[in-house]
Amino acid sequence: MTENVVVARGLRKAYGDLTVLDGVDLDVGRGEVLALLGPNGAGKTTTVRILSTLLRPDGGTASVAGHDVVHEPGAVRAAISLTGQYAAVDELLTGEENLRLMARLAHLPRTSIRARVAELLTLFDLEDAARRVVKTYSGGMRRRLDLAAGLLARPQVVFLDEPTTGLDPRSRNGLWDVIRGVVADGATVLLTTQYLEEADRLAGTVAVIDHGRVIARGTPAELKQTVGSAHVELAVAGGGVERIATDGSVPDVRRILADVERRGIAVDRWAVRTPTLDDVFLELTGSAPDTPAVGQTRDSAPDADVDPSPVLVTTREPR
């Protein structure tokens, strides 16, 4: 059984009459990537701020890397890194100076700082910009530098609070690659996101948070199953969409299409659709998230691995 590196029980936080967290329970196993998915104001950032010792909970307990966040904040801080919604880097320093400063503050041995900083600049594709003042960086470069700064001391637990919010699709894809690398390196990652696609792409486990409570938890596939099976979607000539349930297998789809043809229905386009996290969200919260839906995001993203005109869409690419 994997050991839980992040454990939260009944976290509560309120600002006056406004309840932000209403009893959040979370477990993140070692090496796991958990996405905390929810709309704006659901309590994602508050949860992360409590877990990273920046905020005291009103009630409940939480421990990170075996240390209580309220009573042993120093030990927690030595084991974590936090990348927030706003790139927490120094605008007036160069990229390299930023990393050297953070390396010193993270108490890396002085002899290893130079090598580690150079290593991260390379890995995050910031070598060319290393001697430029951060003020001149693009949004994507800032986030990469921010993330690199957090990883200098190889933290056990990496908190990423909406790591790609506000980035253009290309920068976002680049950052996703970097985050996958962090995971491959063995860190435990807790990321918050309002992008369903992001949770789907990066996380092994998704916890859906709404109104300060975790309302569902599971793998992306498990969550999608809760809203039913795949179906064949037909855009009927002259308007209208028909959905026919399928198990997604080749014989079953062939049978459905043959049936459609035999009945003489003219079809403009058709596709096999599997439930998206969007559907899950709708099912669980009773309302669509007020963020770009998966379909829209994908249309605008120049993803190499997405066929622009899908005839057959099954599950996402294997990870």
Partner: protein, 270 residues
């Protein structure tokens, strides 16, 4: 795909943090950061020197003759200009602190195994260093335009020591202002308030020449006893005990209040 190249070998080879506890090294690193900021904002540093020098020249050559026809007004006004220089430089710290507080970087420092107030200490130490330089430059210009003090080495040390204490006190107030300000622009308003503080004091003209109301205000203005003490020391004139005790008391009082307010505000900032 960079994902594969990122795997940098077994985690066992990772550098292990030498110490999880905060140390003096943290503060040095943060002081270095703040000093480096000054080298990246040369325009700001330049203004903090040029502005007082312009005022010095204006007071000596434009108003000087009218205020004091003996031609020794320069000796009278230089201590006031020194105080204005240092006050203005110290007040600029508010902008630096507000910039940090409104960006995300303070959160990063807080989530690291350091004493988070080190970031404030960094700004304060940098303020002292910057003001030492700008004050030295202003004194240099003062000597060029004819300032002739009559002070022993000991009196110079005492005067500069008092100026440093004044800078330290104002800097901590500036830190507190920077923490409550909604942003760097708002914080920069504080520098103007400090810039105008010396006008209603004994810095440029003797309060006795002012209307009664202003004379009373000048009497309670902390700039007055501090200027009088520095002026007395630099010109080799006697400083009454009441004056230098008041100067020290004001500096220490402002320092204690400013520091306490900064610490409180920093803790409450999240």
């Amino acid at each position: 795909m960079t994902a594969t190249t990122l795997t940098t070998g077994p985690r066992a080879t990772a550098p292990v943090p030498a110490a999880a506890r905060p140390g003096v090294g943290d503060t040095f690193a943060l002081v270095g950061r703040s000093l480096r900021h000054s080298t990246r904002q040369l325009d700001t540093v330049l203004i903090s020197v040029l502005l007082p020098v312009m005022l010095l020249l204006m007071f000596v050559y434009v108003f000087g003759g009218a205020i004091d026809s003996t031609g020794r007004y320069v000796d009278f006004v230089v201590p006031g200009i020194i105080l204005l220089t240092s006050g203005y430089g110290a007040a600029g710290t508010a902008v630096d602190v507000a910039t940090d507080a409104t960006g995300g970087i303070v959160d990063r420092f807080r989530s690291m195994p350091i004493r988070p107030t080190g970031v404030l200490t960094g700004h304060v130490a940098a303020s002292l260093a910057k003001n030492a330089i700008s004050t030295a430059l202003v004194i240099g210009v003062a000597l060029l335009v004819g300032f002739r003090g009559d002070a022993s080495a000991g009196a110079w040390v005492a005067a500069l020591g008092l100026v440093a204490l004044w800078v330290l006190a104002l800097t901590w107030v500036a830190v507190a202002i920077g923490l409550v300000a909604s942003g760097p622009e708002a914080a920069s308003g504080f520098t103007f308030a400090i810039l105008f503080l010396p006008y209603v004091s004994s810095a440029f003209v003797a309060p006795a020449t002012m209307p009664a109301v202003l004379e009373t205000i000048a009497g309670y203005n902390p700039v007055t006893p501090v200027t009088d003490t520095v002026r007395g020391l630099l010109l080799g004139m006697p400083v009454s005990t009441g004056t230098w005790v008041a100067a020290l008391a004001w500096c220490v009082g402002i320092l204690v209040v400013g520091r306490a307010a900064a610490a409180l505000l920093f803790r409450r900032a999240t």
